[in-house]
Amino acid sequence: MKKNIQTFAWLFSAGSLFVACNNDDNSTIIEENTFGAAELYFDNGVNGDKLVLGSSYSNSNSETLTINRFNYIISNIVLIKSDGTEYIYPKAKSYFIISEEADLHTVQLENIPAGDYVKVRFGLGVDQQKYLEGETAQQEFWDYAVQHNLTWTWSTGYRFINFEGTFKPAHAAKHEDHEEPETGTPGLFNFQIHQGSNTSTDNYREITLNLPTTARIRQTDKPSIHIVADANKITDGRNKILLQDNLNAAGTNASIMGGENLIKIAENTLQMFFVDHVHNGSGSHH
């Protein structure tokens, strides 16, 4: 019996030798003055489902939306460590477009000080400071935004979000005075939601998200932060916006491009994003 116990003891101690030897990976060490890259991946969804252009989604406003376009501007990225110190990504390079139709989902960040980051903050849209730099200063990004339907005219500025499609109202609305839309299926109306700032209100918002696990940026380790954007929140968030209430006088089309609704949408978008998970390690993945 004694011998057997010795055998067990030997087995365990032999094993523990190996354990003692395997804890050496230099990724825990943060080398001073080294830099790495990171990626924000924006995965567009609608209330827990994947956003597929052309597909229909019902919301809690009892409206059914078929989404044909979902583009938005992400800007002013800040990465935050657990001690609260912030790394502000260079402003000149910190404007990005996410577009479902153009298959733009990633924000690539480079030359970030190596470190362990626990939060990310970004703007939805374009801040006044940038806009007031004037047209020539931001020609390149402006042209890029034009290409993705994220601008009005220069004097009216950027569209922060361009969210378009068709919808079926909660209750078959009676528009005795009006014709159904000339094109498309009867009972379906077009909608356009163009979020942005205007002369009366600044609707640019910054959003801070906690990461469920640490993003470790190293020279060789490029984390990918997988963010879910819930398009449903735009009209069906803390503030409820019925598209039906925004039908034009002809009763054919609902456009939300200004006024009180943009302030409500700005508030809703604060809850539009969350980080699902973080990939660490080398290589590109989601």
Binding site: N22, D24, D49, T213, H277
Partner: protein, 318 residues
Amino acid sequence: MKKIIILFLLTIQCAQAQFNALLPNDEVDLPNEYSYFFDDCDACGCSASGGSMGFNSMLSEQFLGVRYMYQHYKSKDGVFNNSPWIDENFSTAQIWGRIPVNKKIEVMVMVPYHFLNREKASGNQTLDGMGDVTVMAFYNVLQTMNDSASFQHKILIGAGVKAPTGKFDNKNNGSVNPSFQLGTGSWDYNVAAEYIIRKDKWGLNSTLGYIVKTENDKKYQFGNQLNYGSTIFYTAAVKNVNIVPQLGVAGETYQPNKDYSEEVPYTKGDIFFGKIGVEIGYKKFSAGVNAMLPINQNLTGGRVEADYRVAFNINYIL
């Protein structure tokens, strides 16, 4: 006996052929928009050699043999409710044995070779290779004499290690789930107990096992795992052939995985199976087949579902 062996080999070949048919020879396709990291547990890939598939034979308690196991899972290829479910196939060919050292001590060995495959929308991913070898020593703490009581009891306790002989590839540690690996990459420690009670032709075999997993050199640590199972069996002799039908339950519980000491979301889980099988013994040989169907499961927050497991084995009785 030859007939039985031939029949058995044919069955294995048949299963293997079916499996191969599922496998186009595509290279591992890593980047994928919907690839997902946390959608699996240790149950599936690297520890397929153990789990509640059991490490025992009801017919012959000491043996050396080969076992083929097939596990089918479905996992979500994406983070959304309506993300597509993809099939995951885990096949394992294993040399296993429980070899007596002396009257009181026996050594259990499992040497697995895995064939892992998943059918993503973007193409197939396959991973083949040697898995983690488990070696355990069991000590017989109690054994009643055959004629001393109407109930015979046998209790074994054991301990051992699972060695990182299967490759843990950090490259997969992103787009591919952490269990889509040949091994945990770590030295893991097993403790187990087995209790067998027999009366006449009936028997009940119960096992309890716990695996303590350590952090591997990529700073990833699979969650500790509890396995348990209980199988009732009946030994019928038809001429020189022993037929042992069996029915049981088995379960597994997983602690969360850790990456750099941080808990990885959606990696803990549990599963409870019903189990049915039969073993046939003739002289020094035995052959067995069993199937496991989940009764209740909650793996990785519902992002992975186990469908079924089947296993075939052929043993030489020691």
